[in-house]
Structures are given as structure tokens and as C-alpha cells.
Amino acid sequence: MNKPIIRVFVVLLVLFGLLAYFTTRWTVIDRAELQDNPQNKRELLAQQRIARGSIEAANGTVLARSIRRSGGTYARRYPQNGLFAQTVGYSFLNPGTAGLERFYNGQLTGRTAGLEGTLRKLQGKRQQGNDLETALDPQAQQIAIDQLAGRAGAVVALDPSSGRVKVLASVPSYDPNVLRSAKQTARLNSAPGAPLLNRTTAGLYPPGSTFKVVTAVAAIDSGLYEPTSLVNGDNGVEISGVPLNNDGRQSFGEVDLTTALTQSVNTVWAQVGERVGKRRMSRYMQQFGFGSPVPVDLPADERLASGLYCSPDGNRRLVSPTNSCVDIGRASIGQDKLLATPLQMAMVASAVANRGILMRPAIATRTIDPEGRTAYEKTPQRFSRVMSAASAEKLTAMMQRVVQEGTGTAAALAGIDVAGKTGTAERDVINNIAQPWFIAFAPASDPQIAIAVTIEKTVGGFGGTDAAPIAKAVMESLLR
């Protein structure tokens, strides 16, 4: 009888081998697939048990915090409601995470790696999140939102010397606290005006004449032009074989570049752009950050790249300025296929303000662990050197003139020199609908703040009359 006993044992061994194989399958072979299964909410559920760190503005105002619920779980609350909605984002079990909540999820949940994490576990400490400190300024943000007065648009303000972002206003906004309910989430997803969209980093608009600053930088820094160089500013100069109009079909005759910027003469800058050429324009645009998703500490799918968008096969896609579909003359005055995000245009002002060095924009400044120590510090980082300090000085002088006597006088601040550039992008010529822009920095002698303002649609509005006053109010608040 011993032989069959051993055979039964062997059969059972085979069955146990099957158990070992299946365990291996779930833990190793199919692991990633199971963890990515949409029904697998283990990671999100686990995070409900962690006291996420709070998110704070520069002045300590709490923008997001966790409150304890029964049963040892936590829920997220946003005490400032819609003030920084798109930037702070949200963290809920159902819609998931977005904005800073998503980008800094690891820090906010305190997912400490390596030796320290192991030590904490050995000490039996519960996983606890780090607090996130940002450079955001709630007062200036509130002024920006008030000034937009319900019109869809965006305001971005940052410190040119560090890249720290102080204002990221996107209107219309929403109250992230309502996303706790699935019904409200669905309603917001299809709401008119797309309140969930962060217009500062993911709104793509024709930048209009504000882009002439980029063209001017390329012209002067490359040594091809001086601010005093004379160019024919008559109306109807042919650009790419088609006559180009100035605003009000005005002819300026021979003008220098400073005057051409002050009066925003289209024909001058289009000719300058053509002479600078696609290759040089392309290089300078790249140094400003065009051509790649706007570099800021937000999730990748909430940031878009500024640049030239052609649709050769019906699908709009980003192309290099050297592409044959680009009319570089018209692109140089912010028309044609050029689109930009408000943050990108603020970076243009910032690079001129910071003596030619563009700092990488950053919303967060540091994270603080539960013991009050700095867990992670976001030190200012240089993005690129766009132009020489001398070129930046020349540009500053030209942009100062815009505010002193040109199209941007509405942005002038009492006792403070402002350097800026207006823009008015045509959106619908027949109905006279335009998108006003204003980019600026101040004080011109020692820049503390760089700003970009845009309103999506105004009837008969101009950058100088509609966008510049908003910039003025926000800068006033920030420089106070």
C-alpha cells in the first residue's frame, strides 16, 4: 500500500506547486496589471487614512487641510473655497487628485522613502503628511479675481529674481469643496466656461502684440538692431507677399524701434521678425520657454506648451517656428499660428526684468514635516539665460516708454516705474471681439514683480484700456 500513498503525496505536492505558482502570478507576474486595475482603489483608500499635510499661502493662510472623521479617516477641506481652486487642485476618493495636491502627493502624504521611512515605521509612527508652503499671495489673488469681474481670463504674477509664483488667477473658478459629491463633479465637468481648466497654464491664446517683446529681444540681443535703428513703419508693407495693416491703418514713416514698440507698429516688427529669421526666432523662443509645456510645479496634463500650432492634416499640433507652415513675420507680432499661455507671457516679462536670466517658475517654496523641520526645499532655479544684461537693460527702457507715453499708460503707478507691453489679439473681426493682453514688470529699476494679464473676449476692448488697469491693481497690492 505504500506506493499509492506516495503517489497521493506527489499529487498533493503538484497541487501545492499550483498554489505557489498562482501566488507568484498575483504578486510578481501580473502585479502591475492588478495595481492598475480601475477597480483597485487600495492606494487611494490607503491615503484616506493619512493625515495629509496642509497647503498654505505665503502669509500662512490655509488653502487646504485635512479634517479627522470617525473611524480614523481624513477628508480634505478647502477653506478659501474658489480662490486658488485650479492651482491647489483637490484630493478626493472619487474624482481623484489634481493641481498641487497631485503634484506634491508624495510630500503631502508623507511617503518618506529610504532609511528615514524605515526608522519611522520601526518607531511605530503613523504615516503623516508634510505641510506644503507656497509663495501664493491671497490678497493679490483676490484683487486679480475681483478685477476680472467675472470675465473669463487669467492673471499671473511672479517674482522675476526667484521665479516664485504669487498670483495664478483663472476665471471662472469653482469651489473644490463641492467635488466631494459625484453629481457636482459631473456638473462642473460640463459647466460652461470650463471652470476646472487652469487658464494660467493650460489656456492657449494668441498673445498679440505682447509677443513683440520676444521679437525685440531677438532683434537687439542678436546684434542686428539697436533701439535707435530705423525701420519703415508705413501701413500696408507686404509680409509674406500679403500687405499688413497697422492699427487704424496708420502710417508712421521711418521710426526707431523704441517708438515702434511704444506705438506697437505692426509693420515694423513684422519686418524685423523676417530679418531676424526663423532660426534665430526659434532659438530665442526656446530660451523663453516656448515649445515645451510651461515649466511649473503642476501635473503634466495641466500644463500646455506655447508656440506655433499648425494643422496640416486637420489636427492642430505644435511645430517648430522653422516649419514651412509658419509666416514668421506675422508670428513676430503675435498673430498667425502663435498661441501662448498666460504664464508663458509672464515668463517673457520676467526674463527681461531679471537682467536676461529667466528663473524657473515655482509655486511651492518648501515642505515641513510633522516635527517642524524642512523636509524639502524648492530653491530658485535658473531656466535659461535668454539675453545679455545689456540687452535686458535696453528692453527695459523701451518697455518703460510704453507705460510712460505709449499704449500702456493705464498701468502707470504713482511713484513707481512700470515697464510693460500691451496686446490686443483679434478673435472675431466682424463682431469686433478681441482678446486684450498686458505684460509688465515693476519697479523698472529693481523689478520685484512680473505680470501677465489677459481677458478672453471683450467687445471693442484693448490691452491698454482693459488689461493694463488689472495689472496695475495687482502690482499695487504686491508692491505695497
Partner: protein, 431 residues
């Protein structure tokens, strides 16, 4: 070194394991290491030592590894349950003591286990009665569609756990008598036993089918019937019996899977665990899907002891974590390595069980040891296989590890019987 000293030495690793295990749980839950873990380890060692003394006095020649192996399994179970729920662990510790008492009683009262043969029909009748008890209105309990438990006042237990021992004793005795007759006749070139002798065997098959219908539990009936076929094969050495047996079982199982809703649900949940409809359905595939997700998070090394996500607030994520899904919890926390290690401990236990069967001199002892070992092995296969999606998930306990009084007590009795058989076998072998 003699057998008993080896056994005593073997208990040390089990005690170290429980000290380390409780230490790890305390580290998780409190800020400091409490010397309570040493106390628990000492109590555990003391209880095992008592069991060891009983074996030393009454069964000096018994297999020296069985007790240490079940001590290791029990300590793993106690620590994991403690980590899940302190109150349950206290219950389980009491059941462990009750199991040891049953273990000691079996060894002391049943000096010669062969007297069991005398009462085989009584045992068989009692076992069948026990199996059907959960269907009696008033004391029967239904859980997830299966009738497995009964409650008598404050006590509730699962009679199937005890019935399995009785049925194996009956079958061992019955097959010992009829094994020669079962293979005596050949018709058309195949072994075809007379109907008179095959009748009781068909009865066992009928019983397994009855369990499917009445108790509605695929896992237990697979376990019973598999044990029966293993014994039948060992008794006759004819492959035709298990082949036909499994065929009949398969037909029966297929029939009930397509007609009895509860069994069918389990099968479709097994086939499509991520089907959204089955996933949402009550008693659907949620449990198996969560089991797989938990194992995936474990990976090769596990998330660490005490790290498993069992519930959020008051809502459980892993249903029945301390019973059905305890293997998933272990794999989540200790990883593939931990899971395989646990399976290897079971393989050691099974190997010792079959060694007892091989060493035994008489047919009854051989069949009894084979049956008991096979049933324990199949119980592990049914629950671990269910949790890892090898077979449909049904609620049986993981022997010695899962929470559950009846299971612990019954399995301790099984090991006591194996020790009784091995003592006699090794004594006779020595002579």
C-alpha cells in the same frame, strides 16, 4: 538524540517566532516595544511544553516533528489574527487552549485508537447527522449562502470540521474490510466490484452531492470527496476508482453549478472577478478581486508586518480577513516569500503525515493516516486555491492559522490521531 528531545528542541523556533511576531505587532501599534510579547511567547512555550510532556509520557515513540510544525502554524495564526483584531486573537488563544485539551484528551483516552473500528457505523451515523445539523431550523446558520455553522446558546461551531474526522475513521475501517473484495472481480478488462460492496461507496458520493445541495458548499464537499478518493486509491491501488470518482464529482458539481444559484455565482465570480456587474453584486466577486489586489500590493517581499490595509474607518476592504482571506493578508504583509514559506510548512506537515502512513503496519492505520493527512492538505488547497483564484473561492478555514474554534479543535484532534498512529508504527518498527 531521541525523538522526544528533538521535539522539545523543535518547539524553540516556534516560540521565537511568536515572540518576534508579537514584538512586530507591538512595534506597529505602540510607540515602544512592550515586554508583553515575551510574556506571550513564554505562555505559548509553556502550553506547547505541556503538550510535549503528555506525548513524552504516553507516546514516547511518536513522530517528533508534528508538534513543532503545528506550533509554528498556530503561532503564525495567532500573530496575524492579533494584528487584525485583538479581541479575536484572545478568543483564538482560548480556542488554542481548548484545542490542546482536546489533543491531550484524545491521546490519554484513546490509548489504542483501533477501538474506533468497533464503533464505525455509530461514528458514520453521528458524522452525517453533524453534517446535516446546520440545516435544522433554529440552530442552523447561513453565511454567504452556505450552511456551515450551528449555534447552541452562546456557543456556535461548524460541525463539518468534526464530521470530517468521523467520516475518515469510518472509511478507513470500511475500506480495510472490503479492499480485497473491491478489486476481486474483473469484467470487460476493467475492475468492476460487486454492487454489494460498491454500494456504500456510491453512498459516500451521494453524501458529497448532498452536501453540495444541503450545505451548498463546494469547498467542503471537494475536500471530503478528495479525501475519500485518496483513501479508495490507497486501499485498492486501482487508478480507475479516483478517475471515475472525479468524473462523477465533476458531473455533479457542474449540474449544481448550473442549477443552484449560490454555487453558480461562486463559479462565475471565479471566472470573471473584475466584471463590474459581478463586482458590485452582493456575494459576487468583490472578495476574490480584493484578495488579488491585496496580494499584488504584497509583491515579492510584502508591505511589512502590520502594514496591510484591511479596512478604512468602519468599512472593511478585505472581507473575512481573519478567516477566508487570511492567506491574502499574509501574502500582502510578508509577500510571495512569506506565502511560499507558509506553504512549505504545510508541505512539511503533509510529508510527516504520509510518513506516518507509510510506516504504519496495518491497513486501518495506513488508511486513517492517509485520509487525515489528505483532508488537511485538501483543506489548505481549497482555501488557498480559492484565495489565489486556482478554484472558486469557498469559505473553509486555513488549518491552524485561520480564526475559528471548531477548526482549531478538530485539527488538533487530527494531529493527536496521527501521533497515536505514529507511536504504534515506530514502536513496532523498532522491534
Amino acid at each position: 538524540m531521541n525523538a522526544r528531545n528533538r521535539e522539545l528542541l523543535g518547539l524553540l523556533p516556534a516560540s521565537l517566532l511568536i515572540v518576534a511576531g508579537f514584538g512586530a505587532v507591538f512595534l506597529q501599534e505602540q510607540t515602544q516595544l512592550d515586554n508583553l510579547s515575551l510574556t506571550y511567547g513564554a505562555i505559548f512555550l509553556g502550553l506547547c511544553f505541556a503538550a510535549h510532556l503528555i506525548i513524552r509520557v504516553r507516546l514516547p515513540d511518536a513522530d517528533p516533528y508534528l508538534l513543532p510544525i503545528i506550533a509554528v502554524l498556530t503561532s503564525i495564526g495567532l500573530v496575524v489574527i492579533y494584528r487584525l483584531n485583538e479581541t479575536l486573537a484572545r478568543d483564538q488563544a482560548q480556542w488554542f487552549v481548548a484545542g490542546l485539551i482536546a489533543f491531550a484528551a484524545t491521546i490519554i483516552l484513546l490509548r489504542d485508537y483501533r477501538v474506533l473500528e468497533r464503533y464505525r457505523y455509530l461514528i458514520a451515523a453521528a458524522s452525517i447527522a453533524l453534517l446535516l445539523l446546520p440545516r435544522i431550523p433554529g440552530i442552523g446558520q447561513q453565511a454567504n449562502g452556505a450552511y456551515l455553522g450551528i449555534s447552541l446558546g452562546p456557543l456556535s461551531f461548524q460541525p463539518a470540521e468534526f464530521a470530517k474526522i468521523g467520516i475518515i475513521i469510518f472509511l478507513a475501517s470500511y475500506l480495510r474490510d472490503t479492499r480485497a473484495l473491491l478489486v476481486s472481480r474483473k469484467r470487460f478488462g476493467i475492475t468492476l466490484p460487486p454492487l454489494k460492496h460498491i454500494g456504500p461507496l456510491l453512498l459516500v458520493w451521494g453524501l458529497a452531492m448532498l452536501m453540495l445541495v444541503f450545505i451548498r458548499d463546494l469547498g467542503s464537499s471537494l475536500m471530503f470527496f478528495g479525501g475519500f478518493l485518496a483513501m479508495l486509491y490507497v486501499a485498492t491501488d486501482r487508478l480507475i476508482f479516483p478517475v471515475v470518482g472525479f468524473g462523477l464529482f465533476g458531473i455533479g458539481a457542474w449540474f449544481f453549478a448550473t442549477t443552484v444559484g449560490h454555487v453558480g455565482d461562486r463559479v462565475s465570480a471565479w471566472q470573471h472577478p473584475f466584471d463590474p456587474k459581478l463586482y458590485e453584486q452582493i456575494g459576487g466577486s468583490y472578495q476574490i478581486a480584493q484578495s488579488l489586489f491585496a496580494q499584488a500590493d504584497g509583491g515579492l517581499w510584502g508591505e511589512g508586518f502590520g502594514q496591510a490595509l484591511i479596512s478604512v474607518g468602519d468599512s472593511p476592504i478585505l472581507p473575512a480577513a481573519q478567516t477566508d482571506l487570511i492567506y491574502a493578508v499574509i501574502v500582502n504583509e510578508l509577500g510571495l516569500i512569506g506565502g511560499i514559506a507558509l506553504l512549505l510548512v504545510y508541505v512539511l506537515l503533509i510529508e510527516r503525515g504520509f510518513r506516518v502512513a507509510v510506516l504504519a503496519r496495518d491497513s486501518f492505520s495506513k488508511l486513517l493516516a492517509t485520509g487525515l493527512t489528505t483532508v488537511v492538505a485538501l483543506q489548505v488547497f481549497v482555501i488557498v486555491g480559492g484565495v489565489t483564484k486556482v478554484i472558486p473561492l469557498t469559505g473553509v478555514t486555513l488549518p491552524f492559522v485561520s480564526y475559528g474554534g471548531s477548526s482549531i479543535v478538530a485539527n488538533f484532534v487530527i494531529v493527536a490521531l496521527l501521533l497515536l498512529i505514529s507511536d504504534r508504527a515506530r514502536r513496532e518498527a523498532r522491534r
